[in-house]
């Protein structure tokens, strides 16, 4: 799960390997806030797979690649 200068850099780094999914950094930032925003809250409780899937779905990260289970 890495940052790149551009999609061209991703493709060069993959060097023919099957790609995963590439997102604009702004979308990654949204994802990070949705996923980690409650992490140090003393009231934190473990996320269920359903809750995690809902975060991905809400951000439009859908399809087999983004199915958590």
């Amino acid at each position: 799960m890495n940052l790149f200068r551009s999609e061209e850099h991703v493709n060069r780094w993959l060097d023919g390997r099957p790609p995963g999914d590439t997102l604009p950094v702004a979308r990654l930032c949204d994802l990070a806030h949705a996923w980690w925003g409650d992490r140090i809250d003393p009231a934190w409780r473990p996320h269920t797979l359903t809750q995690n899937q809902a975060i991905l779905d809400r951000l439009g990260l859908v399809g087999e690649f983004w199915r958590v289970a």
Binding site: M1, N2, L3, F4, R5, S6, E7, H9, V10, R12, W13, R17, P19, G20, D21, T22, L23, P24, V25, A26, R27, L28, C29, D30, L31, A32, H33, W35, W36, G37, R39, I40, P42, W44, R45, P46, L56, E64, F65, W66, R67, V68, A69
Partner: protein, 148 residues
């Protein structure tokens, strides 16, 4: 995950955030108001690792307290007057998210090694040209979390 393990988990995060580095089991035992021994801390961490609430190193110490990394990585995050390492790009942004503060992420492009410095202000990155690549499908993230 029972309430005592959640209390241990919360104290572990509290010390990691306060000190900017991973606490040892001894430090947790010394700081614990619920009087845990070092062995009890280690046992609690193992249960939390089994529940994917943290990741342990081979020596039983912390490796990941997601989104924080206990070991140096290519993702350095400066926020709230301290600095931490993130486990990956997602976690680097996650540190700002977890702390609910602005921050600066310093890393390099994995392809070309060019330095990248991106500020997060009001939950937005200041360089929209960058992209994030996730190589491993979500269902397999925990197969090898270090690689993911």
């Amino acid at each position: 995950m029972d309430e005592s393990d959640i209390a241990l988990r919360n104290l572990t995060y509290e010390l990691f955030v306060a000190e900017g580095r991973a606490p040892t089991a001894s430090a947790i035992a010394a700081a614990s108001s619920f009087a845990m021994s070092v062995a009890e801390v280690a046992g609690g961490w193992r249960r939390l690792a089994d529940a994917h609430a943290l990741v342990l190193a081979d020596d039983g110490g912390l490796r990941m307290l997601n989104p924080f990394s206990a070991v140096p990585t290519r993702y350095r995050v400066h926020a709230a007057g301290r600095s931490w390492y993130g486990n990956c790009a997602w976690d680097a942004f996650g540190i700002c998210a977890a702390l609910h503060v602005d921050g600066l992420i310093e890393t390099t492009c994995v392809d070309c090694d060019d330095p990248i410095a991106v500020h997060v202000r009001d939950r937005r990155p200041d360089d929209d040209s960058l992209v994030f690549h996730c190589l491993v499908p979500a269902a397999h993230w925990w197969d090898d979390i270090g690689f993911t």
